[in-house]
């Protein structure tokens, strides 16, 4: 069932295996996954709880080590990199949006958005910055601290931060998990817009069929294996697939 759909992949995994613990306590989170994520596309990873979707994302992003297999971001095989080079790769080529706790509480929204660039010692492209800020609608909130922002606004800041450094790929881990449906829809629209208009590549982990329907393609995981995928999903087709998987 596994296919590599695009020749031009931003991120690919081959034979990706992840085992936690050893012996009897060993948990096989990923059991050999081959998958590719196309550039300038919005891909969602879905699956029931414990299917290994978060682990897959962590391995793809170089946040966690792999037990076996290869992961390539762009033309770099990250499974061979040491911690320092991995850090630099994340800094320069990868963006992140987490479910919660995306922002440093001591910094203002603008400072949070510029943080990855500052860590890298790069200058922000002012035109891009303005465009991103206007897209996510944060112009009048730039000087606020995270504690003064709503949950939706905080996630929009996180999206802006991920976009600003023009990474090769953005990994989003349940980005709408903590939001009400309206704020969630807003954030997902921004993600889709950034793929369509800015040519961004996004890989999102979610368990919400509605969120997944914003993506161009959905891949489904079960028990550490890639079991199905959907192109141009709708909430209904995603839900049907999930129900079929659970059965």
């Amino acid at each position: 069932m596994t296919t590599i759909t695009s020749v031009r992949s931003a991120v690919t995994a081959q034979g990706l295996t992840k085992v936690y613990g050893t012996g009897d306590a060993a948990v096989h989170a990923l059991r050999g996954i081959d998958v590719g994520f196309a550039t300038e596309a919005f891909t969602a990873i879905m699956g029931p709880s414990g299917s290994g979707k978060s682990t897959l994302m962590h391995c793809l992003a170089g946040l966690d080590s792999v037990t076996d297999g290869h992961v390539t971001i762009g033309d770099v095989e990250i499974t061979r990199l040491n911690d320092k080079r991995l850090t630099l790769l994340r800094r320069d080529r990868v963006g992140f949006i987490f479910q919660a706790f995306n922002l440093l509480p001591t910094l203002t929204a603008e400072q949070n958005i510029r943080l990855p660039l500052q860590i890298a010692g790069r200058q922000a492209d002012q035109a891009l910055f303005d465009r991103v800020i206007d897209t996510v609608g944060l112009r009048d909130r730039l000087r606020h601290k995270p504690s003064q922002l709503s949950g939706g606004q905080q996630q929009r800041v996180a999206v802006a931060r991920a976009l600003i450094s023009k990474p090769q790929v953005i990994f989003a881990d349940e980005p709408t998990g903590n939001l009400d449906s309206r704020s969630g829809a807003e954030v997902l629209s921004f993600l889709r817009t950034s793929v369509r208009e800015l040519g961004q590549t996004i890989v999102m982990v979610t368990h919400d069929p509605v969120a997944a329907s914003y993506a161009d393609r959905v891949v489904f995981l079960r028990d550490g294996l890639l079991v199905r995928e959907l192109e141009q999903p709708t909430p209904q087709t995603v839900l049907d697939t999930l129900v079929a998987l659970e059965a």
């Binding site: 978060s54 800094r91 987490f98 860590i119 995270p146």
Partner: protein
């Protein structure tokens, strides 16, 4: 609830480790002080008891001034039941060293002890008038050996020679240890020291009990003597020596309490943070039915257990510290006779150590415990902990203003008052209030100060530096308490440094401005023969030879020493400082009087006072009231008047300046030559005097700095503690930064810079307080101080505090950098 507390404690044992260490050090220092002084006291009473064993009854003179008449010896010896009565002679007779000059700064003691009290370490006791023993450490220092001939001056400065037949140990007698001693036969000792009688007569019994013998001896001794049994004598001696360990004890305990105060702040902060971190846990307890009182009780119980366990460990540490101090004293200060017994923890030490440690810990935890009771049960349901925004409340500002005004008022009053002890106490009270003001204002001050301290690191280290600055001010209350602990130590160190530097500068300045003498000639025995000054005059290399003389006289019918100085010197080289009037008008028929004498007798410039001897006094006009730091005698009369009244007496001291451009070696050689014939007359140069003064001051300063070091170490534990708790709190934040591309090294750097900033803020506040109050204190010492800022030393304190902060960050930073990103992000 009790079980919850215990399991909670066990779960957080690592976090409480540093807190315990702070308590252990504080309690350990206090217990160690008691262990040390108890050991010394025990040693003293042991050796006194040992000495007293040999004496059954002692007849003691009521004072050095009226010794026991020699005839009493035979009378006591003939009392029924007395087996043996032996005299003790004690006085002064300068021993001449190998360099031909008298030994040491103090006049050597001349003594005679009964043979059973003389602790002969080599050779034998003196048997004939031509034999003498020298105490062991003097013999070692001077290189005397048995069989050598040693020279001693008698009361008339006549030289006598003795054959050295042995050395002896002065034991625990601090006075003999300090002066050095030569032991003779009783008759020789009296001849050499000029003593007219005995200091003590030691009696041994032929059978009767000590008590009945004491009564019999007392009957013949009369009222001029005190008669004691051996036990009473030992108890008296031990008590008088015990008094000297009391000073040591009080001094050390002061440092111990500073350390405990700092430890208290560390504990307060730790419990505050732990409570903040356990908000959800506590809220959960409240949810399932724990009352506020139970939550409060559980925190207090936790602090009590920590306090008790740490205090017990502290007692063990104190035993170790006390043992180490005794060992070091014995090893590195063999000249200081410190008797040492076995090192033990007395019940008193155990009670005091446990009580101070326990009470301090519980008291420090009370406020955090109260805070814990305010947790709303619903807080358990919230997922994200809220950032603490700090606003300076009205109450805080009001208190700060009140304390600040009181501090400023007291300080101003102290600084502008007449310099005396009251002024100093006023300033010190102002200082304590100022410290409280800083304590109250701490959270307000820490934000701008950390900006200041973080300015350079922010420029140097880029993003990690700037993040560190932000982090250091995100919880101002916590940062303030962390840094104020360091502030205490740095304040006291800076204060001492400023005070000593100023005192040194002032002393130098006084010497220079009044009379820039190059050499001082003085005699241990008091008198410098007139011929020395005569031999010094007429040399082109010496510009001034100022003779200072004093004699017993009368001022307005009261006994006062009357003095004079070579008159030509007052006209040329010497500028005595007057608080009123002027030395310019000093001529025959006038007198200058020191301020404290003038104050006592209510004398003003322009008054006529009667000066002279008991037989003949002459009215003299007061032309100047001299500053008490003046070199001149307290009642200075013209030289000619002095000669007429008191004759050509010997000099007290001679101060000499070399001529400008003169060969200093040659000048020194002339002075040395002139004093050469007189063993008791010694030359010191002003550089030597300053060197000795500097050495003494540096010695004191380094001891105090070392003792305050403990407070600094404890406050560093506080920084390390706060930092590691913050690291724990910010696990997810650190993981986020790492995910965003912050390198491990940068994360470590960020935490290190945060600690550096905390250290610098503490040091900055401390140096400012220390300098201000150091200055304020110097103004209360005398009206004319030359204030001196020891810039180098203070810079060193600041740099050391920053460095220490960095050290404190090593472990927390390592732990933060090691944590896995995924695990931390996932964690709740």
């Amino acid at each position: 609830m009790f079980r919850t507390t215990i399991t909670g404690l066990l779960a957080h044992r690592l976090r409480l480790l540093l807190t315990s260490l702070a308590i252990i050090l504080g309690v350990g220092f206090i217990a160690g002080t008691f262990v040390l002084t108890d050991t010394i006291d025990a040693g003293f009473s042991q050796s006194f008891t040992a000495a007293a064993d040999k004496i059954d009854v002692a007849v003691i003179s009521k004072g050095d001034e009226d010794p026991l008449p020699p005839s009493l010896l035979a009378k006591v010896g003939s009392v029924a039941g007395v087996k043996d009565a032996q005299p003790v002679v004690s006085g002064e007779a300068p021993l001449i060293g190998k360099d031909g000059k008298t030994v040491g700064e103090l006049v050597t003691a001349g003594v005679s002890f009964p043979s059973y009290r003389l602790d002969v370490t080599s050779g034998k006791a003196p048997a004939s008038d031509g034999e003498a023993l020298v105490d062991t450490s003097t013999a070692r220092a001077q290189g005397f050996r048995i069989g050598d001939t040693v020279s001693v001056l008698d009361q008339k400065n006549v030289r006598h020679e003795f054959r050295l037949v042995g050395t002896f140990d002065v034991g625990v007698d601090q006075s003999l240890a300090a002066r050095g001693a030569v032991a003779y036969t009783p008759a020789t000792a009296m001849r050499m020291t000029g003593a007219t009688g005995y200091a003590e007569i030691d009696v041994t019994t032929a059978g009767p009990s000590r008590e009945s013998l004491r009564t019999a001896v007392a009957a013949v001794a009369g009222s001029g003597a005190k008669v004691q049994t051996g036990e009473e004598r030992a108890a008296d001696l031990a008590a008088s020596n015990g008094a000297s360990t009391d000073y040591l004890k009080v001094g050390l305990l002061m440092f111990g309490f500073v350390a405990l105060l700092v430890a208290g702040l560390v504990i307060y902060n730790t419990f505050g943070i732990l409570v903040a971190q356990r908000m959800r846990e506590l809220a959960l307890l409240r949810c399932i039915g724990a009352t506020r009182r139970q939550v409060f009780g559980s925190i207090v119980l936790e602090s009590a257990i920590v306090g008790l366990v740490s205090s017990i460990l502290g007692l063990a540490a104190g035993l170790g510290m006390g043992w180490l101090a005794v060992f070091l004293l014995g090893t590195y200060q063999p000249d200081v006779e410190v008797p040492t017994g076995t090192v033990t923890l007395s019940p008193q030490t155990i009670v005091i150590g446990l009580a101070t440690g326990l009470i301090m810990t519980v008291v420090a935890a009370l406020l955090p415990a109260r805070q814990a009771t305010k947790v709303a049960p619903v807080a358990a349901l919230r997922t994200q902990t809220e950032e603490h925004t700090f606003r300076a409340g009205v109450v805080r500002i009001i208190f700060a203003v009140l304390f600040g005004l009181a501090a400023a008022g007291l300080t101003y009053a102290g600084v502008t008052a007449k310099p005396d002890e009251t002024a100093l106490m006023t300033v010190m009270a102002g200082g304590v209030l100022a410290f409280f003001t800083v304590l109250i204002l701490g959270p307000v001050l820490v934000t701008p100060l950390s900006g200041l301290a973080g300015w350079l690191p922010g420029r140097l280290f880029g993003v990690p530096g700037r993040l560190a600055t932000e982090n250091s001010r995100r919880n101002p209350k916590r940062s303030a308490t962390t840094t104020i602990a360091l502030t205490i130590g740095v304040t006291l160190m800076t204060f001492m440094a400023v005070l000593t530097a100023t005192m040194r500068a002032t002393a130098d300045h006084e010497l220079d401005s009044q009379f820039p003498a190059d050499y001082r000639v003085a005699a241990q025995t008091g008198d410098v023969p007139h011929t020395v000054a005569e031999a010094l005059r007429g040399h082109p290399e010496l510009a001034t030879v100022a003779e200072f003389r004093e004699a017993e006289g009368k001022l307005d019918d009261e006994d006062y020493p009357i003095g004079t100085v070579t008159s030509s010197v007052l006209e040329t080289a010497m500028r005595p400082k007057a608080t009123s009037g002027s030395a310019d008008g000093f001529k025959p028929g006038t007198v200058m009087i020191a301020d404290y004498v003038a104050e006592h007798l209510k004398i003003k410039v322009g008054d006529d006072v009667r000066v002279g001897t008991a037989k003949k006094a002459t009215p003299l006009r007061v032309v100047a009231i001299l500053d008490s730091q003046s070199l001149l005698p307290s009642i200075t009369v013209p030289e000619q008047f002095f000669d007429e009244r008191f004759g050509k007496t010997d000099d007290n001291q001679i101060l000499i300046t070399a001529a400008d451009g003169a060969d200093l070696d040659k000048a020194r050689a002339i002075v040395d030559d002139a004093t050469q014939p007189y063993p008791a007359v010694k030359v010191t140069s002003s550089t030597e005097i300053r060197g000795q003064f500097d050495e003494a001051i540096n010695g004191i300063l380094s001891v105090i700095t070392g003792l305050l070091g403990l407070a600094i170490v404890i406050s560093l534990l506080g920084i390390a503690n706060t930092l590691s708790l913050s690291v724990h709190e910010r696990t997810r934040e650190s993981a986020l930064l790492r995910a965003l591309g912050l390198k491990r090294g940068q994360l470590r750097g960020m935490l290190t810079v945060e600690a550096l900033i905390l250290g610098l803020v503490g040091a900055l506040v401390g140096t400012v307080l220390g300098i201000v109050y150091g200055w304020a204190a110097t103004t209360t010492i005398s009206e004319s101080v030359s204030f001196r800022l020891p810039v180098g030393q203070i810079a060193l304190f600041i740099a050391a505090s920053g460095l220490a902060g960095v050290l404190a960050a090593v472990l927390p930073a390592r732990r933060a950098a090691r944590t896995s990103i995924v695990g931390s992000l996932a964690s709740d």
